[in-house]
């Protein structure tokens, strides 16, 4: 086993090169709806149990199915109301199961990136070739369904292999969301030195951990999003920050929570120095303008760090 991921170098949040977003924005704000498919009868994983109850776990299956029947359109309506595009963390099999969802994402000019094939198929216990197969399936499926290139990646159920980030770079992926180490984009360290960017994907604002793991009341969740934004907006005056709100239609699309999303987006979009971006746009802006500068600046902090 490795003692650390070896995917990134140390970079103190002090004295960094200044990031300037388009049009003088302080915060690059992006929303990442996770559009997922959990299988009722998935193949077993050697690493974790897939469902919480003996199968068929109809309670947990149907809770997630709600997102694709009911929650998605409701969530998309609210986002469209505020002109906020989604960057979809997509289990790509959704393209085959529910093509109408993909059609609406395309109409709304949302970005599609990969969150694996199904949320019940992990990267755990896969060989590198098998992981490549998942990445290539994702690329082909998204291209076929939407005409989009696959640029971004969030491992299904956040199940990483030890060399997943290396494989992403080798397969032409441009940005990864698997690293939760920073409030700004960062260079990712990969074995063949391709340019891979990490874009912040914020678990602190993700509806699953906040609402479901920590049992936070919705109004408190709203306050967390506002406070999170206020701080990053303040710091963004000095150097551009990123704020991400990861969502799941099966949670945020519930009638008792929808107003939270509405008010959060109203609040954020009422600020003038906000860049309403997609994951792809943030990664590209950083890669073109700041990747080299950051990589160079970080060197002194990592003089003795070599990938083992």
């Amino acid at each position: 086993m490795l003692r650390e991921p070896f995917s990134y170098d140390y970079a103190p949040y002090q004295g960094r090169p200044k990031i300037e977003w388009p049009n003088g924005a302080r915060v690059a704000f992006w929303v990442a709806p996770n559009i997922e498919f959990y299988e009722l009868a998935p193949p077993p994983s050697p690493t974790r149990t897939v469902w919480y109850r003996p199968e068929p776990d109809i309670l947990n299956y149907s809770m997630r199915d709600y997102g694709n029947r009911v929650g998605f359109h409701r969530m998309a309506d609210v986002m469209a109301k505020y002109g906020v595009r989604g960057s979809v963390s997509l289990n790509v099999a959704v393209c085959d199961h529910f093509p109408e969802i993909i059609e609406r994402c395309c109409e709304l000019e949302w970005e599609l990136f990969s969150h694996g094939v199904y949320n019940t198929r992990y990267l755990y216990n896969l060989s590198e070739d098998e992981q490549r197969k998942v990445i290539r399936d994702s690329r082909d499926t998204i291209k076929r369904a939407s005409g989009q290139d696959l640029d971004g990646w969030l491992s299904p159920a956040i199940s990483n292999g030890e060399t997943t980030q290396d494989l992403l770079a080798e397969e032409g992926i441009k940005y990864t969301l698997d690293l939760f180490h920073d409030d700004q984009p960062m260079p990712v360290k990969v074995r063949r030195r391709q340019r891979l960017v990490s874009v912040p994907y914020m678990m602190e604002c993700n509806d699953v951990p906040v609402l479901n793991f920590k049992n936070t009341p919705p109004e408190r969740y709203l306050q967390i999003i506002k406070d999170h934004f206020d701080q990053l907006y303040e710091e963004g005056a000095e150097s551009g920050t990123v704020m991400c709100v990861p969502l799941h239609p099966y949670l945020i699309g519930q009638p008792h929570r929808l107003a939270i999303l509405d008010e959060a987006l109203r609040y954020v979009t009422s600020h003038d120095k906000v860049w309403l971006a997609t994951g792809r746009e943030i990664a590209a802006w950083y890669e073109q303008n700041y990747y080299d500068r950051f990589a160079e600046w970080m060197k002194p902090f990592n003089a003795t760090q070599e990938k083992v």
Binding site: S62, H97, E128, Q131, A259
Partner: protein, 316 residues
């Protein structure tokens, strides 16, 4: 150090037998709530409020595996604390709850463990006297329906639940709720085989839909889980103010949608040992007062809801 990246999965990890339009099983077809044509409920109503009261019996010696239901015994045997806290609902909480429901003219669906009807005939009579609907909800909370109990044993549970409740209430008892929302792969077949007409176990929709079984079709009703007192007040340990806020927020969204897009349902899933505690009941009272006064809204039972759907719902 070389990375551990040898394959440890079987070949079927890369076969996707159900990767095609629709869901990955044959119980129901996929449907988008937003795509349904606009419709009204009977009598020009737009928003039906379905109140379900769970009458549960938690045996002190109940198993905790493979599933511990919310309200199961948390402490070492003999947990008099857990047992008597739940049983409180069947002696005190339910009568406090009935008073509030009576005041707002609500006839509820009583989703009953048959053991409650057997143990407490007076309570059963009070349910009948109010004209509530009785739904079968298994035998007790120590006998959940899941794939490890075997078909024969499960069939006996289903038949005992329906049989006992029909005998003790004189009602036809056509509704079913699986305790703790847990089904085996054949629960729907067994329910249909025992004369059940509707179930309320899957939490993937806000309107009813047709649910296929080998013994004929059932109507699946949207019983709230995420907004139940079980989930919000017990499992998530939130304050009653947060419960009230969320139910009100749900009502706001559903009422607006019911005007714009067609009939909707608000399901209130209530447990006397949770929401009928003295510190919480006023919150429920306020909610019911609001719903009772709302234009276009009406209280219904599960059977009425299934009938309304089958007569007025869009045929999809």
């Amino acid at each position: 150090m070389s990375p551990t990246s040898t394959s440890q999965v079987s070949a079927d990890y890369f076969t996707y037998p159900h990767r095609r339009p629709g869901v990955d099983h044959t119980r129901y077809g996929h449907r988008y709530l937003r795509a349904l044509p606009k419709f009204e409920w009977p009598n020009g109503k737009r928003l039906l409020v379905w109140v379900t009261v769970h009458l549960e019996h938690f045996p002190m010696d109940m198993p905790s595996k493979p599933i511990t239901p919310a309200g199961g015994m948390d402490r070492p045997y003999p947990s008099v604390w857990d047992f008597s806290t739940r049983d409180y609902g069947n002696r005190v909480g339910i009568f406090r709850l009935m008073k509030v429901l009576d005041r707002h003219g609500v006839k509820a669906s009583a989703a009953m463990n048959s053991e409650v009807a057997e143990r407490y005939p007076f309570l059963t009579q009070e349910i009948m006297r109010r004209g509530w609907e009785v739904m079968a909800a298994g035998v007790d909370m120590g006998h959940l329906h899941h794939s490890q109990i075997g078909r024969e044993a499960e069939q006996a549970l289903v038949e005992k639940s329906f049989g006992t409740l029909r005998r003790l209430t004189g009602q036809a008892v056509e509704g079913w709720h699986s305790p703790a929302f847990s089904q085996s792969a054949v629960t729907p077949e067994l329910v249909a085989g025992a004369g059940g007409k509707f179930i309320a176990d899957w939490i993937n929709d806000e309107l009813p839909y047709a649910f296929a079984t080998a013994n004929g079709e059932l109507t699946q009703l949207p019983l709230s889980h995420d907004l139940s007192d079980h989930k919000v007040l017990f499992q998530q340990n939130m304050a009653v103010e947060d419960y009230e806020q969320q139910v009100n927020a749900a009502f706001d969204v559903l009422q607006a949608e019911s005007m714009e897009r067609g009939g909707r349902i608000l399901s209130l899933s209530l447990s006397p040992w949770i929401v009928a505690q003295p510190s919480r009941i006023k919150g429920l009272d306020r909610l019911l007062a609001r719903f009772a006064a709302a234009d276009g809204a009406a209280f219904v039972t599960g059977g009425e809801l299934a009938a309304a759907w089958n007569s007025h719902g869009p045929k999809t």
